[in-house]
């Protein structure tokens, strides 16, 4: 038995992080957190000095997405805390495990409008899974233990620890105590349910075996549960078509014959339509986000729903399920696989006609775009395709928010889990560059591409300085169309082409010079013929960050598209396919389809009312 170590609050904080197995923290020092930065010098933690606190938060998220381990950031009080509000909200909506430590003014100064004081726990209450204001130095180890436990278990999420300066101040005798690393605490109000009730699993399997038109609707919860291998086993066992949401790209291989791609507003026609026409929707760690459902009342109108989620509050939040399964997706799927095996292959209804119908849609309405003519600028879809084909198969792709995000999700082939990192729920522009830095720190041997928009890039580009100085060789593709492309698309389609404040211009800033000034190797690509060569050169650089500016056509819309508030059955496809689709819809509306499936809810309603 060694004598307990006498530490002060700051030393105890660093030691607690080390005890939790933290290897890297993303941070930025300042007044109230100063005492914590002193023992940091003597510890084993790697500290990545960011250029803006928002960057620290998104790096912690990128690190967590890529590794599955909690991302950690440390910033000071006041403006630093408010700067990290966006990443916290982002992590909350996308269930990212993250622990954020903020400095606070001394206990006695709280509430006095002290310098750099803000009510951090109050501000972040609704955008964290839990938060703490520490009031005694000796509570620090226990709070850190609890914070990591809460951030990483159940439905993961961000946890914030606000620490007043005097508790970590080496000059304050009251900040010293005998360090004791506690057991994971018993929290009376927090016991996530991981294992589902047997009877609901049986009920779910009954429906899955009886379904004639099933779809497996895989969400980010499958990735959080490390369940990609089990979802593959389950899908193959049943031959059930799979859609992967924006948060679940890579949870099921895009190249698999059962994969229909992404559902939702800019999803693939087949993914959207299969959901509309299925008789059983198996939601696995997905949350019926409005970008997936479109108009809820007409979403998957004929489907019974099985909803598997570790968070029971998701059950019935949007759509009332016939069977609600509360539990960890991986555990639930393992039990399902077991039970389906026991019942034997003859227990399943024939879904061959359904599979055939689905393949028919895939053949008829694949993703498509028209290549640009020389001198016109590049097509974003083409750039994503070439990046995809010329980069290693396990490349990690990070994106910002907007058209480029949708093109990246659509045209990349995600065949491995944890290779797609984006801001799905909050839709945070500027996410890509810092998230890529975090991902690369966590996965240094992998190629990391940030596919970013020009608008997004301008929001957080300064983190490339961090990347250069810290030797974090990420790659950034700026999809420069000189516009806020997604907003422009909406103004074109829904605001009568009245373009209001969407034009950024392609020439300012000079991205190449800007990137070079931040220590990056930089290229500009203007012609389709140059794309491959520059991507190959970018991929060959592995000792510093690379930025490639792709000069795009100014106007290119993302298709397919479901208009806001519209039914998914009214999805608009690429202009080259739309006429055929409308002809098909018209024919089906007058002539009830011979195979007995109503082709869409719109048709069903028309038939019912005529």
């Amino acid at each position: 038995m060694t004598a307990p170590e006498r530490l002060n609050g700051a030393e105890a904080l660093i030691k607690s992080l080390e005890m939790e197995g933290v290897e890297v923290v993303f941070g930025y020092p300042g007044g109230a957190i100063l005492p914590v930065y002193d023992p940091l010098l003597d510890g084993k933690l790697r500290h990545v000095l960011v250029r803006h606190e928002q960057g620290a938060g998104h790096m912690a998220e990128g690190y967590a997405h890529a590794t599955g381990r909690p991302g950690v950031c440390i910033v000071t009080s006041g403006p630093a805390a408010t700067n990290i509000v966006t990443p916290l909200a982002d992590a909350m909506l996308d269930s990212v495990p993250m622990v954020c430590i903020t400095g606070q003014v001394s206990l006695g100064a709280i509430g006095t409008d002290a310098f750099q004081e803000c009510d951090t726990t109050g501000i972040t209450r609704s955008i964290t899974k839990h938060n703490y204001l520490v009031t005694r130095a000796q509570d620090i180890p226990g709070v850190v233990r609890e914070a990591f436990h809460i951030a990483t278990t159940g439905r993961p999420g961000p946890v914030l620890i606000d620490i007043p300066k005097d508790l970590v101040d080496a000059n304050n005798p009251d900040s010293y105590f005998d360090f004791d690393w506690p057991e994971v605490p018993e929290l009376p109000g927090y016991r996530p349910v991981l294992t589902p009730r047997d009877d609901v699993v049986t009920e779910a399997v009954d429906l899955m075996l009886a379904a004639r038109r099933p779809v497996l609707y895989v969400g980010g919860g499958v990735l959080k549960a490390r369940g990609a291998n089990v979802v593959l086993e389950l899908a193959e066992m049943l031959g059930i078509p799979v859609v992967t949401t924006l948060m679940a790209r890579g949870a099921f291989p895009d190249d698999h014959e059962l994969c229909l791609g992404m559902p939702g507003m800019h999803g693939q026609f087949t993914a959207i339509t299969a959901i509309q026409e299925c008789d059983l929707l198996v939601a696995m760690g997905s949350r019926f986000d409005d970008r997936v459902t479109g108009k809820v009342a007409t979403f998957a109108p004929d489907a019974k729903v099985i909803h598997v989620d570790i968070d029971p509050a998701e059950h019935g939040k949007v759509r009332l399920p016939q069977v609600a399964v509360a539990g960890d997706c991986r555990i639930v799927m393992e039990l399902m696989v077991e039970e389906i095996k026991q019942r034997g292959p003859e227990a399943q209804a024939d879904i061959a006609p359904w599979r055939q119908k689905v393949s028919g849609w895939q053949e008829k309405y694949p993703l498509t775009y028209k290549q640009s003519a020389p001198g016109e600028g590049l097509k974003p879809q083409y750039v994503v395709e070439r990046l995809r084909d010329l980069s290693p198969a396990d490349t990690i792709v990070c994106s910002g928010v907007g058209q480029h995000q949708m093109f990246a999700s659509q045209y990349w082939k995600f065949n491995y889990p944890y290779t797609w990192i984006n801001s799905g729920g909050l839709g945070t522009m500027g996410f890509a560059v810092p998230a890529a830095v975090g991902a690369k720190v966590g996965m240094p041997d992998r190629t990391v591409w940030a596919i970013d928009g020009d608008g997004c890039f301008q929001m957080t580009a300064q983190e490339l300085i961090t990347a250069s100085i810290e030797r974090i060789p990420i790659k950034v593709a700026i999809m420069n169309n000189g516009n806020l492309g997604m907003v422009r698309q909406w103004q074109q389609l829904f605001y009568d082409e009245r373009y209001s404040e969407v034009e950024l211009g392609q020439d300012l800033p000079n991205y190449v010079q800007w990137a070079q000034s931040m220590g990056c190797v930089a290229f500009r690509v203007e012609e389709t013929s140059e794309v491959d060569e520059i991507i190959e050169r970018a991929n060959a650089i592995n000792d510093r960050p690379v930025v490639v500016e792709f000069r795009l056509v100014e106007e290119e819309n993302v298709y397919p598209m479901v208009s806001a508030g519209a039914s998914n059955s009214d999805v608009i496809v690429d202009p080259s396919q739309q006429a055929a689709l409308e002809a098909e819809r018209a024919a089906k509306a007058t002539d009830q389809s011979s195979d007995g499936f109503p082709t869409s809810i719109a048709d069903t309603h028309q038939n019912a009312s005529s």
């Binding site: 839990h130 349910v193 509050a313």
Partner: protein, 176 residues
């Protein structure tokens, strides 16, 4: 008083950890959805590491279920239930100060005498008195109505507290 109040008024009872900030977490969650809290009562239980919160909210049944689930997700909430009026014992306390004149003193005494079962006069001067009254929310409403013909200076209600009736199987969400 709205005779239909019980249709949209629901009572939530939550057992929570008795810690700084827990009440704010609970009320924030209700406030961010724009729902009004009709009354709120909170105090430690016989175990002072725990508090019991009773909240009466003006919310329809469906959104309330979602609120209850969200409240249950709060780390410091140990158990929570929604009590239908028929399944609950509810009580509320009020302190009221009323001014009177020589002309209407007798009428006031008459009102107090009729409510003698649950009204106690705590203090009395020549021109005013303070009473306490405990009872169901309906009884407190009735007392308020009866006193309104006098000059009511203060009418301070505690907000309702509630417990499930004995033998009622109220569905309680509880951390296992």
């Amino acid at each position: 008083m709205n005779p239909n109040r019980e249709l949209s008024h629901h009572t939530l009872v939550a057992l929570v950890e008795n810690r700084a900030g827990v009440l704010a977490r609970v009320t924030d969650l209700i406030a961010r959805r724009g729902y009004n809290i009709i009354s709120l009562a909170v105090a430690p239980t016989n175990d002072d590491s725990l508090s019991r919160i009773t909240i009466v909210v003006d919310v329809e049944k469906a959104p309330l279920e979602q609120i209850v689930k969200q409240l249950f997700k709060l780390i410091n909430v140990i158990e929570i239930a929604e009590l239908a009026p028929a399944d609950a014992i509810t009580r509320e306390l009020v302190l009221a100060t009323v001014e009177f004149t020589p002309e209407n003193a007798a009428a006031l005494d008459d009102v107090l005498a009729r409510a003698a079962g649950h009204v106690l006069v705590q203090e009395r001067t020549e021109t005013s008195l303070t009473v306490s009254a405990g009872g169901s929310s309906a009884q407190i409403d009735a007392l308020g109505a009866a006193l309104s013909v006098f000059s009511v200076v203060h009418f301070q209600r505690t907000g309702q507290v509630a417990l499930p009736k004995l033998g009622q199987s109220v569905p309680i969400m509880r951390a296992r």
